[in-house]
């Protein structure tokens, strides 16, 4: 039952979108992943904007005099502080969980995309048998098997390091790109915090998340890493286009905290 819901709502549309894009995009699966990522970002754009607005409002509120007054007035009384802060949230129309929905949406998308990449590339008999069951009838069977090469990567496998024979050691380029773009993206989207504990947590986040995604990129199919890079670059571009990039904050850990 849950399988059927997941397949019909997430996996099958993603698999078939990938195949359709692949069909019309020079049979290039890497480009198909990038275009699908752009489409997903476009579809989730209203939610992303809502999350941004919500975070801005919250940041503004937490820097306000009233917020600080509450902390000063009820110092030491944690439940009372929380009670008063909740009142303030309500009064100013700020939803403390307003930023959660886009984040929650991101996780099934990542999982669905990962499954659709491995499913569409179908590098083993069971995967190909499974793919045949996910394909819509209008997708031409002649597309199978897909070309899994993109630049020098095999998108169906965890990333192979670049040029080990030349340098004597390998460079996991895609993983580095994932870490770098995740770092930039996290720095841009994490609001500066006024107190030391919050700032410390923000700093940890900006280090922890890129390395976590770097770990995913290094361990799982390179197609997933390509999705991470594409979605990070698109987020950064979107922030830059909206004029929301605080480069001082992005470039300086110290100032960010």
């Amino acid at each position: 039952m849950l399988d059927a819901i997941w397949n019909n709502l997430i996996l099958n549309p993603m698999v078939n979108s990938l195949l359709l894009i692949y069909q019309y995009l020079f049979h290039n699966f890497g480009l198909a992943i990038i275009v699908l990522t752009a489409l997903i970002r476009l579809i989730t754009m209203p939610l992303t904007l809502r999350q941004q607005r919500s975070m801005e409002k919250m940041q503004e509120m937490q820097g306000s005099k009233r917020w600080k007054d509450i902390e000063k007035k009820f110092k030491g009384d944690k439940p009372k502080i929380q009670q008063e802060q909740m009142k303030l949230y309500r009064e100013l129309g700020v939803n403390p969980f307003g930023g959660c929905l886009p984040l929650l949406l991101q996780f099934p998308i990542i999982i669905g995309l990962y499954q659709s990449i491995t499913s569409a590339l179908a590098t083993a008999p069971l995967q190909l048998l499974s793919l045949s069951k996910h394909m819509y009838p209008f997708i031409p069977a002649a597309l199978i098997p897909l070309n899994n090469r993109f630049l020098w990567w095999d998108l169906s496998l965890p990333e192979r390091v670049v040029a080990p024979e030349v340098l004597g050691f390998g460079i996991p380029l895609l993983t580095i790109l994932v870490v770098a773009t995740s770092y930039l993206q996290t720095k841009m989207t994490t609001p500066p915090s006024a107190d030391s504990q919050g700032a410390q947590m923000s700093k940890m986040m900006s280090l922890y998340m890129p390395f976590l995604f770097g770990f995913f990129a290094y361990s799982y199919a390179a197609g997933l890493a390509l999705y991470f890079v594409a979605t990070n670059v698109m987020t950064i571009a979107q922030y830059a286009a909206l004029g929301k990039v605080n480069w001082r904050q992005v470039l300086s850990l110290r100032r960010a905290s």
Partner: protein, 369 residues
């Protein structure tokens, strides 16, 4: 105060990141273990089944004779049905890129050959399709598209042929020519003596199973709703017969007919001369294997676990049994039994009486191997 200073969405990210890691790990964990399905081949008084970490020899009462390796080895996985020679050897290809030559009697290792080249253990050497025996040669297809020609007594590489695309099935050898199907839509004819290509034909769709050779023709089922007949000497297409669904298996040939099933659950009997449909049954359950002919019956295994014997003279159902799991690989016949490898946690092999369909025995490897 953290509770008040950090956006709930970021706290959620902290909480969900390990969950994501767990789910993704679940997506990919055991990729080796779940890459394909068990396959069985028949010897004179026993069968050999490749399944996950080992190859098992099982007698016709369902008792295990030996397994290789005797102790489980990390990252070793077998799926291709072993090739069995008349002089007492079993050749088992591992998905993890090794070919093992074993004594059919004892399971002792005679020699092994790594098909995965490169220090990084590239995926190219994975063995999905069965090896084929051609006199003193062993032809070993690999996922990377290389067909190895080995001396089957020593394991020495004599020559190789590089096909385009993945090779997921055994080559068929006849008259000094090997016929090989590739997932990259192509069927090749290769001179066994030189490993030179005689011809190749692009069928327009992937070919997952071995071609069937009959009366100067090469029959190939495609993952694209057709059975295609080619001239064996030229590769020229003779006819193409439409099916409703993909063809994972090859046809069985008997009485001038090609008999096969598709993934939409149709069983077809075609006239070999022109591909005309002579009869069709629609049990409605997916077929991914090649039927087997025994006496005057054609026995078909289904993904649902159904095992149906059709009378060749009347095309009616002679017997209809159900295995305790999916039948995805070809059934085999040994000692008057139809034996199937079953994809199930509870059993691996099941044997049925070829004449009546009565269940005889089943086999599940004991843990610890």
């Amino acid at each position: 105060m953290i509770a008040s200073r950090v956006a709930p969405s970021h706290k959620l990210a902290w909480a969900l990141a390990p969950l994501l890691a767990f789910v993704l790990a679940g997506c990919s964990a055991g990729q080796v273990a779940s890459a394909s399905w068990p396959s069985v081949s028949a010897g004179e008084d026993r069968v050999y089944v490749a399944h996950g970490p080992a190859v098992y020899a099982v007698d016709l009462d369902g008792d295990e004779l030996w397994r290789y390796p005797a102790e489980a080895v990390r990252d070793l996985a077998f799926y291709a049905a072993p090739a069995v020679s008349e002089d007492g050897m079993v050749y088992a290809g591992a998905y993890t890129g090794h070919l093992f030559a074993l004594s059919a009697e004892t399971g002792d290792l005679e020699w092994e050959f790594p098909t995965a080249d490169g220090a990084d253990g590239t995926a190219d050497g994975k063995i999905v399709g069965s090896p084929a025996i051609a006199g003193d040669l062993l032809l070993v297809p690999t996922d990377g598209g290389t067909l190895f020609f080995l001396d089957r007594h020593s394991g020495e590489t004599l020559r190789t042929f590089d096909a385009v695309g993945q090779l997921w099935s055994a080559p068929r050898v006849e008259g000094g020519t090997a016929y090989l199907a590739s997932l990259a839509h192509t069927v090749y004819a290769i001179d066994v003596a030189t490993a030179e290509q005689v011809w190749s034909t692009d069928l327009g769709f992937a070919v997952a199973d071995s071609p069937t050779l009959v009366d100067g023709a090469v029959l190939a089922g495609i993952l694209g709703d057709s059975l295609v007949a080619l001239q064996a000497n030229s590769g020229r297409e003779i006819w193409r017969a439409a099916s409703q669904g993909w063809l994972w298996g090859s046809p069985a040939v008997v009485d001038g007919q090609a008999i096969f099933g598709d993934v939409f659950g149709n069983i077809y009997g075609l006239d070999l001369a022109d591909g005309r449909v002579l009869w069709q049954q629609t049990p409605g359950e997916a077929v991914t294997s090649t039927p087997v002919i025994v006496d005057r019956r054609v026995v078909v295994g289904f993904e649902s676990g159904a095992l149906i014997a059709y009378d060749l003279d009347t095309q009616s159902v002679d017997w209809d049994e159900t295995a305790d799991g999916s039948i995805l690989s070809d059934p085999v016949v040994a000692g008057g039994q139809v034996i199937v490898a079953v994809t199930s946690k509870d059993t691996l092999l099941q044997a049925f009486d070829a004449a009546t369909g009565d269940f005889i025995w089943d086999y599940l490897p004991a843990a610890g191997g």
